[in-house]
Amino acid sequence: MDLSTETLMDMYRKMRTIRMFEDKLSELVNTGKLAGFLHLCAGQEAIAVAVCAHLRDGDVVNSNHRGHGHCIAKGVDIDGMMAELFGRSTGTCKGKGGSMHIADLDKGMLGANGIVGAGIPLTVGAALTAQIKETGGVAVAFFGDGATNQGQFHEGLNMAAVWNLPAVFVAENNGYGEATPTEFVTPSTDLTKRAASYCMRTESADGMDFFDVYEKAGRAIEVARKGEGPTLLECKTYRYYGHYVGDPMTYRKPEETEEWKTKRDPLDKFEAEAVSRGLVEQGNLRRIDDEVRESIEKSVAAAEAAPFPSVDELTTDVYYEND
């Protein structure tokens, strides 16, 4: 593994930031401080961070409704994200988008998305731009197992394959689409099989294992960058929270969740492996924990103190006029 201690610490910091960001949001919704439907990605952090570790400026990622982790991993500023969730004018999208629509094109983040599957063709389009303009860029879509039943998934993969686009399709298979178990609605829970009819490369990774995702995503992104076509990368994972904050979770047993949390947690696993290999010191990780905790508290305080958008903003940005 070609990862320096410094990079590893950075990876850990990003994963910890995602975890603490999501835990904080859950608390804020449960105490009535935040409104809206928040889809949290705690448990799935390793995927976003390990994939984005291979991306550069100019590469584009696209996300779904469970998008906070992808944004953070691609470098979107958490202060702006937090302010967005509080609906403030200092938010990433001036408070107009909210959780499901956080976007920051300067960071190559082409948006979370409220429409399941919709980010996939958008990613195909971003890859098309990279190909036609010969930017050397790669486009990555993050989506769930449920999205692989959408026409947009199949239409998107077909185009990416037939046009040999520099794209990577990352399926985060967490076993459920909302309340419905994957096997109720998808004939095989091995989602890589779906790529076969598009003659597309596939990779399958343990989404709870940073190092496994890192290796496989690295291969996929390198292939794409070299102009050798797209890959479908499936990562098996689990979401710790419900589908949204407030989900009664009647469709799964608490023991199942406990098992994933205690035996397969991606942060614990990363730490155990990095420390035992002598790559990072535990004390340094605890210091990162403290710093991240503090940065999130600060982002909440700043968001709460920020102004709401002016009501004039209701009808601006509907069409491009002038910047």
Binding site: F37, K96, G97, Y176, Y251
Partner: protein, 336 residues
């Protein structure tokens, strides 16, 4: 006997009655069983739809008639149309009307047109239940009121109840109608309670209802904005203006007679709609008034709607986006 029930429970009751009274009625959609039916794992009942409207159906009517679909709206609505044309009476749940974007063809080009194209040789008894409306901080892609789009398509009917009583009766009518009907459920009304009779009854499609009598101005509400209109009427009363409130209920077919009758009575009319204003139901009502009610008009017909913009996330913006009783009151006063 009537009881107080939330609209959601009224809808649930209608589904139970429809399935009991007709074995051809099936229910399909995302999470309508919601992972239920796994007795072996101790999970008999689970979600029953995103809001819980289909709770209990899976246990009672079984996997064959109550289907969790993949997140494939185009696919399962198309399948519902095909099933309707060949002998079933499907009730499909399109979780939010915003998802028309990924599923319009089965409604627009199939359900709506089969009967006409086949020279009247087919019936498409399909009901699509779908949540509409803003006010839940769900932002641009989960808050729209796109019912004017379905109402505009020849061959489709579109209804939207404003209270639990009508929700139950209209849903039963929709399911038993031999035409495709889009049944809109305003999200913000689902948890509000009202009187609901027990047992089986129908509220006819195509009939508006007077929600409040008045003599000086007519306020027309649609779903959630019936509440807005009623609240405006109350304020207006204290200021000496008597407002009649008409609950449109059925967007297509529209109850022209009821609209013209109230207009004739009051001479002034305002439509409150939380949808965007261009090519909307409010414009349709206004055009009717000008076309067939011109002689009754003592003032211009007014629309109070959302602006021509997507639904914003920020609570302050969303609150300003939605038509308020205060805006209705202010506009009504301009008419005198």
């Amino acid at each position: 006997m009537a009881r107080e029930l939330p609209m959601l429970f009224a809808i649930n009751e209608a589904l139970h009655i429809a399935m009991e009274s007709d074995p051809d009625v099936i229910v399909m959609g995302e999470d309508v069983a919601g992972g239920g039916g796994r007795a072996d794992q101790g999970i008999e009942e689970a979600w029953g739809g995103i809001m819980g409207a289909t709770k209990g159906l899976y246990t009672k009517f079984g996997a064959s008639r109550v289907r969790d679909t993949p997140i494939s709206e185009m696919g399962f609505l198309g399948a519902a149309v095909g099933a309707a044309a060949t002998g079933l009476r499907p009730v499909a749940e399109l979780m939010f009307i915003d998802f028309l974007g990924v599923s319009f063809d089965p409604l627009l080009n199939q359900a709506a047109k089969l009967r006409y194209m086949f020279g009247g040789k087919v019936r498409v008894p399909l009901t699509v239940r779908t949540c509409t409306g803003a006010g839940t901080r769900s932002a641009a892609q989960h808050s729209q009121s796109l019912y004017a789009m379905t109402a505009a398509v020849p061959g489709l009917k579109t209804v939207i109840p404003s209270n639990p009583h009508d929700a139950k009766g209209l849903l039963l009518s929709a399911i038993r109608d031999d035409n495709p009907v889009v049944f809109c459920e305003a999200k913000s009304l689902l948890f509000g309670s009202g009187e609901v009779p027990e047992g089986d009854y129908e509220v006819p499609i195509g009939k508006a209802a007077i929600a409040r009598e008045g003599s000086d101005v007519s306020l027309i509400g649609i779903g959630q904005t019936v509440t807005t209109a009623l609240s405006a009427a109350q304020t207006l009363e204290s200021e000496g203006i008597s407002a009649e409130v008409l609950d449109l209920r059925s967007l297509y077919p529209m109850d022209e007679e009821a609209i013209l009758t109230t207009l004739e009575k009051t001479g002034r009319l305002l439509i409150v709609d939380e949808a965007t204003p261009v090519c909307g139901i409010a414009s349709e009502v206004a055009s009717l008034c000008v076309d067939k009610g011109f002689d009754f008009l003592n003032a211009p017909v007014k629309k109070v709607t959302a602006p021509h913009a997507p639904v914003p996330f920020s609570p302050v913006l969303e609150d300003a986006y939605m038509p308020s009783a205060a805006r209705v009151v202010a506009v009504v006063k301009e008419l005198f």
